[in-house]
Symmetry: D2
Subunit: 345 residues, 4 copies
């Protein structure tokens, strides 16, 4: 028996990926699609300028898009996926929670709020129980759960493996990020062809804070952030999908490449529908992973790592993930599956 | 009165840039162009597949290409610029030096040899006097002088400025390198369109060693390498020209952004013909420098920096240079100008 | 003594190119820069997001931008260059003409109006005298002069040469157009990386109509359009600047490659400041012209041609021009220079 | 029961695609893989630098590569797929045919030979019986069958549909071809980033001759080529896969867009394993088909068309196909399936 779900902000780039992923999902069934007021009342096919290579899934194109307000969404919809613009999400997501919905959101608002779980299921699924604290404090029947930024998700699973194995004191990361991370219209061709941009507004800060919350400890009352120092430099390059990252870690205990590879490759995945069989795949060819070749590993839900080397005080490695699958739509979906699995729906 | 010069390996990508730069040079005049045995005897226009946007300079296309052997080059040619493939240069450059020529070489061989000056004129021009040691040891009338790798040159001037101001303990650098750095045929389009490659064979090691030699002290007998630890991760991205780098430095003394900008912008240039007016330009817009917009700053001979931020133990910044101008042909040329200025020709 | 000029729509992509070209112009001096109401009162540096590789010219950045209305522009400004969006230009350009200004416009409105000269100076500069008809009919002291669309300009000079030599019955053209032709934000990176788009709205029609007007005859009262049939197919590809076109012509008289090359290369240029020395350059290497290598020929004001071959009923050739120089800002400027030369200012 | 097959030239770009397609094929089983002498004796994993996004199929990587000579290939291998370089294929393919093998070849040699069938199964599968003539003349037990060039295949199905419906007098075509069409190393990144090349050596001629043979009539003794005039202009652009083409046809009878769409969409496919359900898909959105969005239609085996318009003497349209699937490896495979279906194996 499938759970009826809705998508808030269904016409954008991440919303479209959610539609694609949910259309053939065994546990969830799309019942409601929302968009801005201007599109309300239109069919999904008319409201969304569909940009994914496979066609709009059967049955979805004819659905009528509703406005993104609690009044326009059926009360009994247990789970809402949100890919709203951050400023919009900040306003309306709490209203949906108050109206009793559980919201699994990719939107960047509230990610570092004390009573909002920020989870990558395989890494810190236990943080989900922060929902109890949240409900106590806010008096909600629903709940608000967040997944991190796409560039953060890419590095957190390998970092979690290294933290377990050696302890982390410091993380330094340079990213090479795909244009799709900025949304369909986010980067013009004139900006990026034969070019690179060495700064992505707000992204460095997200990586530095969200990763520490994700790697932190939940004690039943709150999350103590990990105390590693994290320093990020984010670059946009002319690739379509797949964020590549160069990472240096200073470890608390001595680390070897062999033990690090073992820690990454044996880091446990889950048995959720969208979980990859193996969370982190480590390449031995130093020229891998590469965005175009490796971004669709295990349906775009695995992390690819490589280039491991020992340094004076730790390790150096590269990692890669598909930013709109594992890094956005797939991340929200996985949180939804975890919510179902843990009995929150 | 101009000095007659030759170019060893004149038909390759860097050789062509040298031809372009030398054609209108006030101090040097091209007298000899060499290439592999297969091209010897052909006109330069026939031997070189010219790939630069401006046409082959007047008078050069008709010159006859000679073989790359001391016998084929006039004895009285004071200065030879070398852009030979490294394996070839390793063999033949010493033979030219033995035959009495001064060789300013971009080829990667011999760069870390104890008696070979590796110089960026503005940074460590004084190392040039290592030629005396070299001549003593090798019994040459000529001399061999090297410029560093293109990715090393890009970061060394800002690092030198920071070293003077605060002292450097550690340098961590991630590069985003243009395809021209691999030579005209070095990166196929199938490898790099919609992609990035997180490793460039040998490049990381060059950055880690050459930068320490360049920042080292010459005491009249030899060079003591700088003892900062340097860790590099090199990436190839789909840009044509211009290497962009993200750099973190751990400084010996406390550093501020303001003092760092001042140190970089006031770092002295020289009065050589190809010297930029200002060696390092610092942008305040965090989205700059960008390869396509900033690689031709001061004719491609300046370093562009930006994104300066304080970190817990030092500073973070970005830098950029044109890899075939400041990073290769222009670097050799500048060494040639320094050799002339210092009386070595 | 220089003529004071203004730029209507000075902050957009073509407006910026006009600023760049006019800043060092010997005959014209920028006195007024206009933009939308939102930017009025700001300095040009603040109002324009400057995207050209060389910096904002000295003295221009500090100028105050005014609104695009006749009231906001000094009455005595003889010449206004317009790069307004077409819908805006359609409304306000006539108002400026009525207020006594001569407007040289790149905007697509009015191009095929009967009493509006559409000119490429070297090809049909005599059409400029249509201004007399225009003034009679509209009662203007000023005048409105247009240059054609960038893809049209690219092929018209070689077509004019072939028409003179052999007569033209039919023209079939496929274009490979650069992203800058759509303006800075016109094509997103997600649309065009690893892709091509086989249609550009309105562009095919512009090529089919504007080229026939340009190649038509002016008899003192009006322009009889050329009666060749013109069929165009327009494609957007991932290049930054430079439109490349494959053209087939059916000629009235038998054509040879040799005579065609001669007709193109000897087609007269003018002596205006921005005129190239040679209007059409013909390459014999069949792989040329190429956008990146040949778009800046003679400062981007020449047309490059190549690939000439005889067909059963005529000829086949390729041509290329820089779409924002010869194809837009440079085209308007050249019309301005012609207006000055012919005494219309 | 599956047919044992071999791949001549299995390590190249098309050879790798063949390996991928054959690995899961229900009728064929890979038994032999050949490569140049230098690779003979190596495992396939070592000999091939695998560049396809999915991994080397199970069991294939361990196979030992043999030399490309009849002696090195088992006598009882009924079918050999050839993706040899043309110059190599010209020499050795006949030797394999003489040794009794049936060769389905993508190599460009022999394509226009009088007794060699050149087939696109859905279009002119009946030409396959030219094998009888071939065997009579050459005394072979085996046979040589060719598929056309990738750019030819793209336009021939829609042209065949239009020929049936209206008759074709003339075809004019401009192509926008992907870099993979030149093989993995065929186009360097320095040649094509921010660029286009308006000529592909030999390609124009292939399109002009092969299309006329494919659309010709086979009368049991030989093929009378279609007498339409075909004029092609071939361009390389910065896309990875998918050739896009702009086509104009002059028709013998009056054509309408509606009838043309109907002719294309109802053009029959076959029931072979690799046949698409619908051979030609026609888009009504004039901005489609686009390489990145539409090249994988029906597993990359369909032709996408669009942009249909009436002209004075016929029609104009665009078409697109995946050049290494439908245009190369898939084309050879389909010919192999047809050979099996028609009892030639």
């Amino acid at each position: 028996m499938s759970v009826a779900v809705g998508i808030l902000g269904a016409t954008g780039a991440v919303g479209q990926r959610l539609v694609q992923l949910l259309a053939s999902h065994p546990e969830f069934e799309i019942e409601t699609l929302t968009a801005s007021e201007a599109s309300a009342g239109e069919s999904y096919s008319d409201a969304a300028k569909w940009r994914i290579e496979s066609p709009v899934p059967d049955g979805v194109g004819e659905m009528t898009v509703t406005e993104t307000t609690p009044e326009a969404v059926p009360e009994d919809l247990d789970l809402l996926f949100s890919s709203l613009p951050s400023a919009v999400g900040r306003e309306v997501e709490p209203a949906f929670c108050e109206a009793g919905h559980v919201v699994s959101s990719n939107s960047s608002n509230h990610r570092t709020a004390e009573d909002v779980p920020l989870t990558v299921p395989e890494v810190n699924g236990d943080h989900l129980d922060l929902i109890e604290v949240q409900r106590d404090e806010r008096g909600w029947d629903g709940a608000l759960v967040k997944n991190p930024n796409c560039s953060t998700i890419t590095m957190v699973p390998p970092l979690a493996a290294l933290d377990d194995a050696f302890g982390l004191d410091q993380v330094t990361v340079a990213t090479l990020q795909a244009v799709s991370g900025a949304g369909y219209d986010g980067v013009t061709s004139m900006e990026i062809i034969d070019n690179a941009i060495p700064h992505i507004g707000g992204e460095e800060n997200k990586m530095e804070t969200e990763s520490r919350k994700l790697l932190g400890e939940f004690d039943g009352a709150g999350v103590s952030w990990h105390n590693a120092r994290v320093e990020a430099s984010c670059n946009r390059i002319p690739t379509l999908d797949g964020h590549l990252e160069n990472v240096w870690v200073e470890t608390a205990r001595e680390a070897t490449v062999e033990a690090a590879i073992d820690a990454m490759e044996s880091y446990p995945s889950l048995e959720l529908h969208s979980s990859p069989d193996q969370l982190v795949h480590v390449f031995t060819d130093p020229e891998r992973p590469q965005p175009r070749l490796d971004r669709t590993l295990e349906g775009g839900m695995s992390i690819a790592a490589g280039g491991l080397q020992e340094t004076d005080d730790g390790l150096q490695f590269n990692c890669l993930a598909h930013n709109t699958l594992r890094g956005a739509a797939g991340a929200s979906l996985l949180n939804g599956e975890l919510l179902l699995d843990r009995g929150y729906l």
